[in-house]
């Protein structure tokens, strides 16, 4: 954790007090992190990227939807080219990414360790 300079770790915000956020990287220990983003932009339960003790970004899980759509489109195109069922290929992607999103939701709820 925090082991390299560009290495930001995902963490869940537990509370924000006096301009300092207390985050949990998954080990259940609350650590102070400076707010590198606007205070109003982050609240308890948010997933953020923490870099060297500073919150540099809030993770927008809805943006993952764009990636999923792009991957699905690729899968459909490739399946069509190979003479396979494009719909099944898209479903396969949806299922798999759904699993990752579920993990993210569990992380958010604090039910699962981040690291």
């Amino acid at each position: 954790m925090f082991r390299a300079m560009c290495w930001a770790v995902p963490a869940v915000v537990r509370r924000v007090e006096g301009g300092v956020a207390y985050v949990d990287v998954g080990d259940g220990i609350e650590r102070p992190a400076l707010l590198g983003i606007d205070e109003g932009e982050v609240g308890a339960g948010d997933i953020v990227m923490v870099h060297a003790g500073v919150i540099i970004a809030r993770v927008d899980l809805s943006a993952l939807r764009e990636s999923i759509e792009a991957w699905k489109q690729m899968a459909v195109e490739l399946a069509a080219r190979a003479g396979e069922d494009p719909e099944a290929a898209a479903k396969e992607i949806e299922k798999e990414v759904g699993r990752v999103l579920k993990i993210a939701e569990e992380l958010r709820a604090g039910a699962r360790a981040a690291t």
């Binding site: 300079m5 560009c6 301009g19 540099i56 990636s67």
Partner: protein, 402 residues
């Protein structure tokens, strides 16, 4: 199973997404190969953490075993520890031996300086000689610790744009105690990318760089917009990517897609964390406290407006002023890598670690000679640890496994 390892396992299983992405990269690479079957499309992964993902997950091997021969991934200058001039490491060692408490990150602690100071060639050796050198993971940790003892202290603050807002926020919020001074050695990434691409164009090793995977976390601060000049000036696609293997594969697919269509756009793949305009609050805080200066890069020399120093208004926090550390001027800068160490070329993507005569012979992670072998963002350290560049295959061949 934990979150991160669940994602890792999904990739290792050669998941549906991986297969689709590799399939797509293959399709695009085949289309491009019809134009010139021998051309190699070099894609520079700027950030050391991207190189870590590429080597750790064996992305080069995934491409190779899938029959994709025309795409080569080249590591770029994204390792701040590798490019911090030896001079400042030596000055920090000096301060430690003079009784100043020195705080720094774990990789800076181990990085070897070119010249020893009273027998100490690194901050680790300075500690062995009795210096008070303390490894921390953040500036805030150093602040809390320094407040407790009140002794004269310095924080050796290296890093890229990602760390700067942490330093500036601490200064602006008045958190830094009077006994702790900041030695700002922050480097800015766009000037280094320009320089690396210029070098590859002016003194080409073989093929020029056809596309760039731009650093994801640096871009949370500087935004996707920071890379527009790169795409426009060099006419190449730039993709800001995240650090999961699927992020990197998606970036490669997008770069090839653009190349096939003759496009050169900046695309943010890491949309879950990066915005086009960047983190305006962090940028404003950073430039309130710091100013961009011409700065030296280890083994490379001075690059214009490529470093951050504290502005005059915050001089009370400036370690250079407080401890009278003379600033490194271009006329005083000397080539600062050990002879035969090829770290600078590795940093600029002109050589691979395996091209260096010292790699895994005289220079190993246990006994690093050059700075690229120290940090986990240093290309040599990553290749040494995970067997990049065919190292693992060579070992397996020697052992008669393959």
């Amino acid at each position: 199973m934990s979150g991160i390892s669940a994602i890792e396992t999904a990739f290792r299983r050669r998941s549906a997404v991986t297969s689709v992405l590799v399939g797509y990269i293959k399709k695009y690479a085949e289309d491009l190969a019809r134009r010139d079957p021998h051309y190699v499309y070099k894609i520079m992964d700027f950030c050391g953490t991207h190189e870590w993902t590429i080597v750790h997950y064996g992305i080069r091997s995934v491409l190779e075993t899938s029959g994709i021969k025309s795409v080569e991934l080249v590591a770029g200058p994204g390792c701040p520890v590798c490019v911090t001039p030896s001079y400042f490491v030596e000055e920090a060692i000096k301060l430690a031996l003079e009784g100043v408490v020195v705080y720094t990150y774990g990789d800076v602690f181990r990085v070897p300086a070119l010249r020893g100071v009273n027998g100490a060639r690194s901050l680790a050796e300075a500690r062995a000689l009795g210096g008070d050198v303390r490894v921390v993971q953040s500036f805030i940790q150093a602040i809390i610790d320094a407040r407790g003892h009140g002794k004269p202290s310095v924080f050796v603050g290296i890093g890229f744009e990602t760390v700067a807002p942490g330093y500036s926020e601490a200064v602006l919020r008045g958190l830094v105690p009077p006994n702790l001074k900041l030695m700002s050695l922050v480097k800015l990434t766009p000037p280094a990318m320009f320089y690396a691409l210029d070098m590859m164009q002016e003194k080409p090793t073989d093929y020029p760089v056809s596309g760039v995977i731009a650093p994801g976390h640096v871009s949370t601060i500087v935004g996707g917009k920071a890379w527009v000049p790169v795409a426009e000036q060099y006419g190449i696609p730039v993709v800001v990517a995240g650090f999961e293997p699927h992020d990197v594969l998606t970036a490669i697919a997008e770069i090839l897609r653009q190349l096939r269509r003759g496009e050169s756009k900046v695309v943010i793949e890491y949309a879950r964390a990066v915005r086009w305009e960047g983190n305006l609050r962090a940028l404003s805080s950073m430039y309130t406290v710091f100013e961009a200066v011409d700065d030296a890069w280890r083994g490379i020399g001075f690059l214009p407006k490529s470093g951050l120093r504290l502005r005059g208004a915050f001089a009370e926090h400036d370690a250079m002023k407080y401890f009278s550390v003379p600033e490194l001027a271009p006329e005083r800068w000397q080539y600062d890598l050990p002879r035969t160490c090829r770290c600078a070329e590795v940093t600029l993507g002109k050589a691979r670690p395996t091209d260096c005569p010292l790699f895994m012979r005289a220079c190993t992670p246990d006994r690093p000679v050059g700075p690229c072998m120290v940090s986990m963002e240093g290309t040599c350290a990553i290749w040494a640890r995970f067997g990049g560049g065919g190292l693992a295959t060579d070992v397996a061949r020697d052992a008669g496994i393959v």
